[in-house]
Symmetry: D3
Subunit: 250 residues, 6 copies
């Protein structure tokens, strides 16, 4: 198992980075959010999960990858009415990514994978990739942390709706970072009637709605059905597929 | 059938707009692109299809909707290596949308549907909605013009890959605006091997690639299998579903 | 007469553009507005007139010119208090022009003529030219669509003030695009007293005023005196002079 | 004659400003440039002339006006190939004007006259007025310093072309600020053949050209025919007309 | 000792934040950097130290303060030539701070302390405070993490120059986060001759120079003289003074 | 003594600039402010002092330096509640500096000294230097006009607090530009109790406060103790040191 001093930039000195660079082809940028996750998960959930996934993925890609500092806030306007949520403007997130890639390109790294745990960041990443690929002359990939294990989710998750502080996410946290979970507070979604039902994926329209229009407690799905074991299957499947996918495009 | 002077803003005088406004709840903003569509479709294809769909949808929503001028260029960096393509920066498209909604809000319209025919605009729309909903205090929806008829597409389109100057799009054009098509030039995709296969929807990674990495002639699918009849079924199904979906959220 | 497929980008496929490019020296960019034009003209008036002029001028310049998509909204803050007007911020219009020229420069076109039908865009064009010429290393020209026929206007137009939904503009529309005009609604200006008289060209001061400070019905001049024949003389004179002027600087 | 401490902000203490404000209705903002003016005028010419005109005009408007600091650089890309020229980007000039008006509005001043001596700033002022009037909710006027005396110029200036370091401008400087002129270096324009002739006002096309494309020594007209007496007639006529025009709109 | 779930936002659920807010008067924003720290400290040094100081200070201010997520990259252009350094543009850092404060203001928090461990961020903070205080109508304070213990530093640190990966910083890390230090790699600065000597604080001029112009190994001072005990005295003194200072202005 | 026509750009023609450039290594950019200076100094104080210092310093550096136009407004939000103050946004000041340096770089000048008389500009200069050095590939220095004579100030100034319209600044003005001072209005500071005492340099916290929170009359220190003789010692000492410092880094 490689030493973290050899692939996690936050834990490396500059001579260690210098030594690592000759084999490095890609930098993994973990991206999360700081937003409400219901009564049973802490608000840094996405940031921590992205970082934990990032560490494991980068280790698998050693010595061809390094991991950058985690972007620990994201685009979360939908959650701003719940106490504590902090949301970056999409242009701010793009500016952060630009500065990171520009700096790392100077060190000789020309490929990037943004490893994103928060759905609310996806559109911004689509835009960032369109803008920055050409502006900086780099190759940029992005991935939802565990989306590649969708088949596992569909098999293991009972809730019809999942995706935020739900059976899936709590399971992942139980496996990757159990301190994110308040096991004594686990709750299923407390759904509201409303416009949101017409705007979920698969409907003719998409659009902005606040999360409290959908769920009173800020969760969806049913976190009481989460388990570390489910989390493990999702996470390990995703990691394996991500590692393979990255190796294929490098 | 309502008179276009009663719901298409480009064809109305200001007293006609004034007369229409009291019942108007939503403005439909057609959004297209100006980009290569292979040897058998002209470059304004997306702009014209969005406008044609916009007209029909707005008519169905009369007297609760008006249609704005069409945004006739979009975010098309992937196509820039094909002659003639013009691409807006995502920030430019957001600026156009901001100015349009800000102007129309002053006239009393507070809900918007961006009716988009070009996949490359979708991420930018996601970002635009996140930014502008809160900045302008409006409600914004967006929809791909015919995506709600996905079941019809899956039934009627034989090609495994479709979405750009393909069986589906040429069919839609044959029905809605046949002058967009060069019937004597219809071709199937001329695919290339390459990285793009690893980046299509459903793969673990997403990322930017140029269209010529995927297809030499700029098409996908097989346009030779297109027909106005297929187009009609897709278009009319989508229009019916879109109209219903809009009515439900108004 | 050349085939539109050979010089109007919106009506061309990419192989047709590729074939046209070797002789093309300049791109014509029609620029209009979406704004109130009184009770007798529809709001797309400027956009349509610019496009019609653009087609005719580009045809005259064949095979040295191509016409781009029309920019169908412009800088119209003065008209925002009339129902339906949509105004772009000047910075948005500059962004659109930047993106268009940047895209077309990549296809090998380094000279541009912005053919503008709306007075309210002129200052923005002056600024755009100052910024973009040096930023993009291109040559940019701009022209009011029919301003070069000022002598004809002065001879044929009786109204002292003209320039917006007036004898001149309605005449041009009657010749170029009669569907823009509501012949049964033609009215002369309904002027107001006020500050605007001190701010018309020729006065010591210039400044911003809203159009309704000047005219209750949103017109100036006297549209009842318009005719397609006057329009024809203005338009054809201007086209001839514009074509000659472009040829002299190419 | 009022004391400059009562209307020139740069020469006032804050209690003096406080005392002046109750009668003040408008702030005069002198705007110049820093650019080459041929071999016989120094590069601050426009800034100094604007300031001198500003002082005299503000005095005439006492106690209804105050004069702000002079904006001593402007938009001069056309002159950048001559040694010493400094050019502001148009967006920078607009930012300066925004900050000035925003600050002064807080002190209770809601009307502004930008008194501009440099033709290259005019488009930017047109744009600034369109943007800032609505953004800041103020009234903004602008004027070329002596343009209102055009009839005098046409009578007294022999050169066909004038406008930059010419008979007119040198005359104005001889009267207002003789230290700007090198009397032993006076020269007529040293014109070049070229594209510029097709782009002067009155031609069908407008566009950007560098000043050295037009004149080798950076002047136009014939400065050897300048005189303080001509300058006096132009300046005093313009001042009288400007003062009257301002009083009429206040 | 208060529970971290009661004042560290990253470790709180939204109901916990909701419960904390009624007594909260200020949010502490830790700000660091990701930059080279010589051969004996890892590149996240500043981010980790800021976070550690933030935790301790927020605890002391309980229940009047909460701590936000740490901004783990900063303005580090001077270090960009050392492998691994990532630098944010100052405008990016200001954008992050704007978004954070705007979000938190919506939750009812109107005072902020940016607790900054990196000298290179100070100018940007000065600007951020000037801009954001008025724009967001909030009160903003900022402090270098341990600068208030300058007397202790002057007494305990032998090196004439200190401030970056030096006796002082390594001592602080040994006390607060020993994993940041490579004890077997401790080195004194390897100074270069050069321009930098003329640009250190106290000289007539200030200016930009790259860190490698000053020191070959990226350190200043003499880290071999660092100790956890020195670190403790600096840190605890600073924390006490910071807590008192915050309480006095709340 | 060199002729001002040989080193002060505002007083030079372009052929004079052309003649000067071969020996010029640096441009001196005087930077001031337009802000209240209590009842005994006019609001242009900082702009005039910076320009006067600039002239003298540039003369000393002849023929290696030229002086640019003075930036006569600065970043003064703290003073905006006193009548007359005009404040530039920090981003505006950076834009001005960018445009100036970009223009001058084209004339062959690659080093700059921003000679700043106003403390409120210092943070913005720190940021400007970080951004523009790399963006424009130039060397940038900045200095407070007389800060290098701090030892003289400490010896000659009796007031404990000084820095704005105080013994020191009035003394400098009495020596450099006596017309800035109202000798019959000289007053000592009229201090207020308040939060500012906790935010002065040397305290643990820094932060934004309005000047009227500190002093009712807008001054600090005791201007009644100012003299031209003190001013002379400060100014001449600083000029000598600045000239030497610049020569050492050229």
């Amino acid at each position: 198992m490689p030493n973290p001093n050899a692939y996690i930039l936050t834990q490396m000195t500059w001579p260690e980075v210098e030594q690592a660079l000759p084999t490095v082809k890609i930098a993994i940028i973990p991206l999360g959010a700081h937003e409400q996750h219901g009564p049973h998960m802490v608000e840094s959930c996405d940031a921590v999960l992205a970082e934990e996934m990032g560490k494991r993925l980068t280790e698998k890609l050693y010595p061809e990858a390094v991991m950058t500092p985690t972007i620990n806030m994201g685009v979360s306007p939908h959650h701003l009415h719940f106490p504590g949520t902090i949301s970056l403007d999409p242009t701010t997130l793009i500016a952060i990514l630009r500065d990171m890639m520009k700096s790392l390109k100077q060190h000789g790294i020309g490929q990037f994978l943004i490893l994103n745990s928060h759905g609310g960041n996806q559109s911004t990443l689509g835009v960032a990739v369109d803008i920055l690929t050409r502006e900086l002359d780099v190759r940029i990939y992005y991935a939802k942390t565990t989306a590649s294990a969708k088949d596992v989710m569909d098999r293991r998750i009972e809730s019809k709706l999942y995706g935020h502080s739900c059976d899936r996410e709590v399971s992942e946290a139980m496996y990757l970072a159990p301190h994110l979970v308040r096991p004594d507070k686990l709750e299923a979604a407390d759904y509201q009637e409303g416009r949101w039902k017409k705007l979920r994926p698969g409907n003719p329209l998409q659009g902005f709605y606040y999360y409290e229009e959908m769920t009173r407690n800020g969760c969806i799905g049913d976190a009481t059905k989460a388990s570390a074991e489910i989390g493990k299957e999702i996470v390990e499947t995703a990691l394996e597929r991500l590692a393979k996918a990255v190796q294929e495009v490098l």
